[in-house]
Amino acid sequence: MTSSAAMAKRAAPVFACIGLLAMWQVASLVLKNDSFPTAIEAIRAVPSILGDKESLINIFASLRRMATGFGAAMLVSIPLGLLMGRSAAVAAFFNPLLMVIYPVPKAALMPIIMLWLGVGDLTKTLVIFLGVSLPVIYHSFQGAKAVQEKMLWSGAAMGLSPLQRLVRIVLPAALPEILTGCRTGLVLALITMITSEMIARQSGAGNILFNALDMGQYDTVFAMIIIVGAMGICLDAIFERVRARLVRWSEPQFDIPLSFS
């Protein structure tokens, strides 16, 4: 690949952003609607939000909940998915349970969880945890199931115990698939984070957004959308870099979809 082609590839997402903002600008100028500020107005409102201490505390609270929920989900879901992939009994036990939970929108469970656990951090973190868990479990399961049996036999012949085989063979062998699940999970974490703050308003990025909406501060609403969107893009790009680095051994180099690396 020539360097100019590589540059073009790197710059493509930037052009996509600029294109999107330009379309927004034109659309809002044409529509002339009070509740639809232009892109430039919205971008101008960004620094005032990021400069405000109260807003920053809110945004960090959101990110903290998201990180906790995401981290807890990985800690539980990866081992569970791997176990399900390697043990028919574990899979038979959890599969029906997951099949029931899977199609239920996790945010729809929030009222019940709020009833039990209140409107604080715990409820929101739990909802994020639930939202992230399923794709991570599913991909870990698929990854573990696909591990070549002869690889495990080779390990067993070297003297690895069943637990060691799970940690030292199944986990790395399934890592590419697991990380694909985690990447989906990360985006879902952001979505459930905002949704949870929309339902249980108290603090957070979602809270700023919906308060502004109530008060008719539309430039702040759109500025928050830009901030949350940018957070999502950055997190995904960072995760993608980490992922690509961790599974360099597995992948042909050029077919990384949606990457900013």
């Binding site: 070549q148 002869k150 690889m151 036999w153 080779s154 067993a156 012949a157 070297m158 003297g159 690895l160 063979i169 790395p172 062998a173 890592l175 599974v247 360099r248 051994w249 597995s250």
Partner: protein, 324 residues
């Protein structure tokens, strides 16, 4: 022991090696490394025993002892049609320590299954397999498999793969690395230490798989059509390399193959199996001198006779096929 008596006078003198990837020097170095490793691991008292075992002269006069005994083993598989499929029927077999034994037979006759039973990966429906008098209940580092599918760890480099076994056995990292590097050199992959399996060709992967298994010094090598997927040239090279390694340290080898030439060229004993149900048809002792050199052997009428006879037996069994 039969195999050793056959190795007429080849004793301890380093052979001139045919396999281009190999050199006697590296092998000697490897032996030294191994001895040193056992010194640090087991202390002085055990060293003598271990190193002498490793260096045991080829002409030693001790009686042939059975290392693997397979006693009336049968294997039934439940197929998806819920019919029982008799893959192995009443197999009894004794393999002597240090022997190179090939299993030859038509596809689906249960060669792999038999190897997996000895490996402890599959437990037989009836009968039992023993190693050194103990019943085989599971896999262990005394039996090292080399699979046709390679089954390398793709997240490890060549060096990482080869070091995996010794590290698991508690060999210190520096020692394991030194031994592994010597092995990698021995199988002709010097310079590829930091390559990942996906970056290697089939023949190279097979070499890594062999080195990975040799690295933890199993007493018995279980090789399932290790050269089946390779082109003729690579196959010949690897056969030569394997023979050189084997003639050096006389591990017991159980070698599954489709190829009559390969079986006769490599083995002390060829076990011919027949299909549905898998049975032992005949056991043939291959009485050819060692060390064996390909170019000499191909011209040897005795070699040619073995190949022709075994091929004829297969043809006979094909004709008798429907009756089975």
């Amino acid at each position: 022991m039969k195999a050793r008596q056959n190795g007429r006078g080849s004793n301890d003198a380093p052979h001139v090696c045919e396999g281009d990837g190999l050199s006697g020097r590296f092998l000697a170095k490897l032996v030294l490394l191994n001895v040193r490793a056992s010194e640090t691991r087991y202390g002085m008292t055990v060293v003598a025993a271990r190193s002498s075992e490793w260096m045991r002269p080829v002409t030693s006069q001790e009686p042939a002892s059975a290392i693997i005994e397979i006693d009336r083993v049968s294997q039934v598989f439940q197929t998806s049609a819920r019919k029982d499929h008799l893959a192995l029927s009443d197999i009894s077999l004794t393999i002597e320590e240090g022997a190179f034994v090939s299993i030859l037979g038509p596809s689906g006759c249960g060669k792999s299954t038999l190897l997996y039973i000895v490996g402890g990966f599959v437990s037989p429906t009836s009968g039992m397999a023993k190693i050194k008098g103990h019943a085989i209940t599971g896999p262990g580092p005394d039996r090292g498999p080399v699979f046709q599918e390679f089954a390398l760890f793709p997240w490890k480099t060549v060096l990482g793969n080869v070091m995996y076994g010794p590290r698991q056995q508690g060999v210190r990292a520096a020692e394991a690395e030194a031994q592994s590097r010597a092995l990698i050199e021995m199988v002709g992959l010097k310079g590829y230490e930091n390559f990942y399996p996906k970056e290697l060709s089939g023949g190279m992967k097979q070499r890594v798989a062999l080195a990975r298994t040799l690295a933890y010094h199993p007493e018995v090598l279980l090789m399932d059509e290790p050269f089946g997927a390779l082109d003729a040239h690579t196959r010949t090279r690897l056969q030569n390399d394997l023979l050189t390694i084997w003639e050096r340290d006389r591990k017991t080898v159980l070698f599954v193959t489709h190829s009559v030439d390969e079986a006769v060229f490599l083995s002390d004993k060829v076990i011919m199996m027949s299909k549905s149900p898998g049975r032992i048809r005949q056991v043939i002792d291959i009485d050819l001198p060692r060390p064996r050199r390909r170019n000499e052997l191909l011209l040897d009428p005795r070699y040619q006779k073995y190949v022709v006879d075994i091929e004829r037996m297969f043809d006979d069994s094909d004709e008798a096929g429907p009756a089975l």
